[in-house]
């Protein structure tokens, strides 16, 4: 890869370092926009004139919503790569499926945590058992935690790549439920419908949310890239270890012993040699 650092085991390249720096800077800018420059969500009741809204808790949504969307994207990429594993059976697809699943699971955990922190002041509870979206998201997290547990069962990923692909494809069946739960079970969720689809937000609020999507897009890109390279190096290390072991074993054995082991007689060996 052009610009790749030649030190052994290094996953950085000029491009990925630049990407990492831009992602980090974007995170800082997003933090400033979300926590300092945008205003709190305060509305006045039309008849009583009382203040209501999400107040400062709304700031958490600038992180929560983009992370949720990028979580979907990561898991869908994992599903696509898993199909690639089953159809093509090449390591590239498997390493991609593993990388995107790991990044998606981290995002899913963060979505649950940020959602819980947001829910405490707004819903007055850390956790709502009756909420369908919360439940389906938790199940999604557990499904992919199982996927990652399966991947850790052996140091050689080639042994369970097709099994892992099946687990991932079953797990992503939960994504439509998570995504559509707010519309399908309207009376079984505290989650609001998308304010973005109904264009209820504008100006700096809209810009910050869009900037959040861009920022987390870059972060996920960078994380997936790094995780992919680590996965690729792990594969290379295993192949190298197997190759070295075979070479070492061969060097311990003379040519005659090898011929005897595979049943070639001295005459046959003589005929074969020029």
């Amino acid at each position: 890869m052009a610009g790749r650092d030649e030190r052994p085991g290094n996953t950085g390249s000029r491009g990925s370092r630049l990407l990492g720096c831009v992602a980090l800077a974007s995170l800082v800018v997003l933090g400033v926009l979300a926590f300092f420059l945008t205003g709190p969500d305060v509305r006045l009741h039309p008849t009583t004139g009382e203040e209501f809204g999400q107040f400062d808790a709304v700031r958490m949504l600038y992180l929560h919503v983009p992370m949720a969307v990028l979580m979907y994207a990561s898991f869908m990429l994992c599903a696509a790569a898993s199909v690639g594993v089953l159809v093509k059976r090449t390591p590239w697809w498997d390493v991609m499926a593993h990388s995107t699943a790991e990044v998606g699971t981290v995002l899913c955990g963060l979505v649950l945590v940020t959602g819980s922190i947001w829910g405490r002041p707004v819903w007055n509870t850390w956790w709502e058992w009756g909420d369908v979206r919360l439940m389906t998201t938790l199940v999604l997290f557990l499904l992919f935690a199982g996927y990652l547990a399966l991947r850790r069962t052996t140091t050689d990923p080639r042994r369970q790549e097709r099994k892992a692909a099946v687990v991932a494809l079953v797990a992503v069946l939960d994504i439509p439920l998570v995504n559509r739960s707010v519309a399908w079970w309207e009376n079984r969720t505290l989650h609001q419908r998308s304010t973005l689809e109904e264009l209820k937000i504008q100006d700096l609020t809209l810009f910050t949310l869009m900037f959040g999507f861009l920022t987390f897009g870059l972060v996920v890109w960078w994380l997936t890239l790094q995780r992919f390279r680590v996965g690729w190096l792990e594969r290379a290390a295993i192949d190298h270890a197997v190759g070295s072991a075979i070479a070492e074993r061969r060097s311990e054995t003379s040519a005659d012993e090898l011929d005897a082991a595979i049943g070639v007689t001295d005459e046959q060996a003589g005929e074969a040699s020029p």
Binding site: V139, L142, G146, L150, T153, T154, V166, V167, V170
Partner: protein, 227 residues
């Protein structure tokens, strides 16, 4: 038509083999069913043996006991293929993987139905529940049994051959069965008259779960036993 008949004959043969092994070894009857009853009794101890509380939560406790016991039954079903190169022999036999899956899932299903019947007896005697809608109870019990057996057989095949099957199987299987647990509990709530919910609507969800688990299992089984 003859292909369908041959497929069903293959599946029946596998199911009969698994059930014959179970009939002779009596692992499910001798170990899994007593374990399930033990779980019911432990719930009773944990909830201070209060009849009203037990009746209120009977459906949930019943299905948690079924799922925990199903793990043992599935584990046993998958272990049958691991001994003495059975799986290699099955691979060589030319048996369609889908027929093998349907046969194994059917055997697990029969064992689960037996388990459910015994546990229901436990609910009636130990928890003092009353059955308000027997038809709903039977249909929901059977559909949930199909879903658990199909998903269990799929994940049993998936975890088999790995050194950590015992610990990996629950982590993989239980989240997949979460919708079945929710649907079956709600349907039983209605059938036992514990909570006023539309149990038949939840039974519809169980039917969808059973269908998806069976179709995905039949399609994916070939991939899993190849490795």
């Amino acid at each position: 038509m003859s292909e369908v008949r041959r497929f069903l004959a293959d599946a029946r043969m596998v199911a009969a083999r698994d059930l014959r092994i179970e009939f002779r070894s009596r692992v499910v009857v001798g170990q899994v069913v007593p374990f399930a009853l033990l779980v019911l009794v432990l719930f009773g101890f944990a909830l201070d043996a209060d009849h009203r509380t037990l009746r209120t939560f009977a459906s949930g406790l019943f299905w948690v006991a079924v799922l925990l016991s199903a793990l043992l039954a599935v584990h046993r079903s998958a272990a049958l293929e691991q001994s003495e190169g059975t799986m290699d022999a099955l691979r060589m036999s030319g048996l369609p993987p889908a027929a093998l899956f349907i046969g194994k899932a059917t055997a697990v299903f029969v064992q689960l139905v037996l388990l459910e019947v015994v546990l229901l007896g436990g609910l009636l005697v130990l928890y003092g529940v009353q059955v308000v809608d027997p038809a709903l109870l039977v249909v929901a019990g059977l559909l949930a049994g199909v879903a658990v057996a199909a998903a269990g057989t799929l994940y049993g095949a998936l975890a088999s051959g790995l050194g950590v099957r015992e610990t990996l199987l629950p982590i993989l299987l239980l989240p997949v069965l979460a919708p079945v647990l929710i649907g079956a509990t709600r349907a039983f709530d209605d059938a036992l008259g514990a909570v006023a919910v539309d149990g038949w609507a939840w039974t519809g969800l169980l039917a969808v779960a059973a269908l998806i688990a069976t179709v995905v299992g039949a399609l994916a089984h070939g991939v899993l036993i190849e490795d």
